[in-house]
């Protein structure tokens, strides 16, 4: 006999999945036999949209988080390349050889040389290191700053919220690149200015995301339960509320790294980023675009290709993480 409490258990013919009693979370699989799903009385069944989009793949592939793995593999390969590449490519990325400018592919210079006769491969590897490093490091400060400010704004509301969010409004009232370029321009180019400029601008996105999450979280019963158990507000915020927002922050951070790579490369392209002669993908592309008309594509091709690839990988990782980082009930 079925549980007498679950008066709403669907009849045998009812389409599986519409039953109200499927236990929430953990992928309630509709019973293919058409039997009514076993219901648990009283459990509030939440209809969890399981698959927004399913790739038409064989089941053994679908079980894995393909996006995440693809992204990780591409990014891992790129990082590995940049990490160990310079061990094998011993050419000095800054050594000029004007007589050998725009040299073709050779044993000494597998990707040829640029307009000053510098080895493109060496510059590509060293430049990529700088770009990725700056992009990743420039995510950490805004992440922490934005999460902290957003959590404060969301949790306390009132004037705290008003002050922080109006500040965020002011920052985001300016176009992103304009503000970053102005800040770097004022502070002078170089890595330190890039960090400061990016931190000053991109905390806003984290703050907005976290604030939104916290607005929902603070009404949750587990926060009431925390208060009822005598936890202090700082403890509730730091150990219970913020950890619940971190996954959203991390997911955004992946696309933020992409954005930062774009910023570094763009700034360097405009001559505001990494100080020459230090190699950097943006500068290489800037150099390269001047000589595209003369048929020298190598200089712009490789860094451009790399930027796109890394961005794609990070976007895939972000998507993949979305699927696994959702807090489960």
């Amino acid at each position: 006999m079925s549980d007498p409490l679950s008066s709403a258990s669907p009849s045998a013919g009812a389409p599986a999945g519409t039953g109200p009693g499927a236990p929430s979370g953990l992928g309630p699989t509709p019973d293919p036999s058409g039997k009514p799903p076993r219901t648990r009385g009283g459990t509030a069944a939440r209809a969890t949209p399981q698959a927004r989009f399913a790739l038409p793949l064989p089941a053994f592939l679908r079980r894995h988080n393909l996006q995440l793995w693809t992204g990780l593999i591409i990014l891992g390969a790129m990082v590995l390349l940049l990490a160990i590449g310079p061990l094998f490519v011993t050419a000095d990325p800054n050594r000029q050889d004007l007589l050998n400018a725009f040299g073709g592919s050779s044993a000494a210079h597998p990707l040829g040389t640029d307009q000053l006769g510098r080895d493109i491969l060496a510059r590509f590897l060293h430049g990529g290191r700088i770009d990725l490093l700056v992009a990743v490091i420039a995510v950490i400060v805004p992440f922490i700053l934005g999460t902290a400010l957003g959590a404060l704004a969301g949790y306390f509301g009132r004037w705290v919220d008003i002050v922080i969010m109006r500040l965020a409004d002011i920052v985001s009232a300016f176009p992103f690149y304009v503000l970053v370029i102005v800040l770097v321009f004022v502070m002078g180019n170089g890595m330190a200015s890039i960090f400061v400029a990016i931190s000053a601008v991109s905390w806003v996105a984290y703050a907005r995301i976290v604030r939104g999450e916290v607005l929902v979280l603070r009404e949750e019963e587990f926060v009431s339960a925390c208060r009822a158990s005598g936890l202090t507000t700082p403890r509730i915020l730091s150990r219970h509320v913020i950890p619940n927002t971190v996954s959203q922050g991390i997911i955004y951070a992946m696309s933020d790294i992409v954005l930062n790579i774009g910023v570094v490369v763009t700034l360097s392209f405009f001559g505001l980023g990494i100080v020459p002669p230090t190699a950097d993908w943006g500068q290489m592309m800037n150099d390269g675009q001047q000589y595209m008309g003369t048929g020298n594509y190598g200089l712009i091709l490789w860094p451009g290709f790399a930027v796109v690839l890394v961005s794609l990988a990070l976007a895939l990782i972000g998507d993949g993480l979305t699927n696994i980082l959702k807090p489960r009930r």
Partner: protein, 283 residues
């Protein structure tokens, strides 16, 4: 001296339709170690009473009159800046919530969750907090607590989550436990087990229990005394048996008759032999 006294508590709330009285002259006296049932229909102010005791009224609600005394001290004004005394939460008065599924932090292991409050106040080391959690989980009847302490809430069943909640509520050894319909969200069989646990814990520790429910059968199994609420007022209070046998208020009588009895097939009357105290209630 009673452990907890709610003395003519009156609470107003500012809503969309203007100011409304949600608690009107509510008085409850709970002796140490006394299990009391607080029953009433939805919206009668049961939960608000509990929230007032913990100083967790919703925004817009305001205590206009009355005192809440814990061991004789008015906790409404004994805190910092003459406000609610938050030190009482957890250590003096603790609460078990209705839905364990949403009353636990989804991203924290239950072992740590149980001991988080003690860990903060006493600065327990990770190891001793874990040991304490395991010990408590064992006490509330969770099998294999060593392993379960490392589980996240979503990995536990509803009954187990509620046991975790109970363990968390008891970790600071409070003297009063407030229960806001803690078994409503559970299966009947699990309900019986959890009620058993409440009874054991209550008797073992001499807990004052203020048990809010709309299920009179639960009250009958667990409590010695009962208060009946309606429209923000306490309309009846007394020893369980006398209220069940001979309710003075019409409303109480209605509540009693609204509880179906499994043994006689018809609704329980108000007759003198209504031994609801021994009957398993089926809703």
């Amino acid at each position: 001296m009673p452990i907890l006294e709610v003395d003519s508590l009156t609470v107003d709330i500012d809503g969309e339709v203007g100011r409304r009285r949600i608690l009107d002259d509510v008085s409850i006296t709970l002796e140490a170690g006394e299990p009391m049932g607080l029953v009433g229909e939805s919206g009668s102010g049961k939960s608000m009473t509990l929230r007032s005791i913990l100083g967790m009224l919703p925004p817009g609600a305001e205590i206009v009159e009355g005192e809440i005394r814990f061991r004789g001290t008015n906790i409404l004004t004994s805190g910092s800046r003459r406000g609610y005394d938050q030190r009482i939460r957890g250590t003096g008065i603790s609460m078990v919530f209705q839905e364990p599924a949403i009353a636990l932090n989804p991203v924290m292991k239950v072992g740590r969750q149980i001991t988080d409050a003690v860990a903060e106040h006493k600065g327990l080391s990770k190891r001793s907090a874990h040991e304490l959690a395991v010990e408590l989980m064992d006490r509330v009847g969770i099998a294999d607590p060593e392993r379960r302490a490392h589980s996240y809430p979503f990995q536990l069943s509803g009954g187990m989550r509620q046991r975790v909640m109970i363990a968390a509520a008891l970790v600071q050894e409070p003297e009063v436990l407030l229960c806001d319909e803690p078994t409503t969200a559970l299966d009947v069989t699990i309900q019986a087990q959890v009620l058993d646990l409440f009874r054991t814990m209550q008797q073992e520790r001499g807990l004052g229990l203020l048990y809010v429910t709309h299920d009179l059968a639960v009250v009958a199994q667990l409590c010695q005394s009962i208060s009946v609420m309606k429209d923000g007022r306490i309309i009846e209070h007394g020893v369980l048996q006398s209220v069940f046998d001979d309710p003075t208020e019409d409303h109480t009588r209605k509540l009693l008759t609204a509880t179906p009895r499994i043994d006689d097939g018809v609704f329980a009357g108000t007759g003198g032999d209504a031994s609801a105290g021994t009957s398993e209630g089926a809703r």
